[in-house]
Symmetry: C2
DNA sequence: CTGCTATATGTCTTGACAAGCATATACCTT
DNA sequence: AAGGTATATGCTTGTCAAGACATATAGCAG
């Protein structure tokens, strides 16, 4: 999860992944379509691969890269833990403020008791 | 979207966001819970804020940070564009290979025609 | 208005990492 | 085997960003 985020933070890598979303592509096509240099693309693909975001399958001299579905499944699961946030449009700030203030008071008390 | 990914790529920032998922927190609490130094937390919050991931509301001298639901909504939408990938477990590699090879052949033809 | 708490900003240093270029490897064709 | 195509790796350099520390600002209590 952490590695995935790091990998996708790089703009060109995100472009690559977004390109691969439409299907497997050999390195050469990625180079063409994104106007990048071949070595950098290979390196980016390496990072994406290490992060588990893409996978490779060789066909002759070409290497077809594609998105690993499972990776994005995990990704979606993480996002889902935030779903409540926008589904219930609850604004609990006032409640939380009270809670926190209560805790602060407790710490105050301890301080006084301790000294 | 791009800024969001960059922001979340930093591990401590992701920790902060994950902490805020449970509700608004003042800076001090984030510092305590994550064992970070206050200035860095403020800076991280700045980045998260600029990326639109969190928002602030002042309460006395404290500043309560919370996750911006809309940001995660957008995030989820992006992930959703990948949903097909894991829902239909389609493996279209063979098809794509043929397509690509067809294109290669066309380029070959052009090359011969041009020279 | 003075000191205190909570948070933000500035500066510096250091480490990570992406680009660029050269070169190595793999596989295919003849 | 030789040359060509497709891709990967090594090395160097420049840039950016996170951490550490000092300091500034804002709001509150006496």
């Amino acid at each position: 999860m952490d590695a995935m985020l790091t990998a996708l933070a790089e703009p060109n890598r995100k472009r690559i992944v977004d390109l691969l979303r439409d299907g497997p592509r050999p390195v050469g096509q990625i180079v063409e379509r994104l106007n990048l240099q071949q070595p950098q693309v290979s390196k980016h693909l390496r990072v994406l691969s290490d992060a588990g975001l893409v996978e490779v399958r060789p066909v002759a001299q070409q290497r077809f890269y594609s998105v690993r579905p499972q990776a994005f499944h995990e990704f979606a699961s993480w996002i889902d833990t935030y779903r409540l946030l926008w589904e219930e449009q609850m604004d609990r700030l006032d409640v939380v403020v009270q809670e926190v203030q209560k805790q602060e008071v407790q710490k105050e008390d301890k301080r006084h008791a301790g000294n």
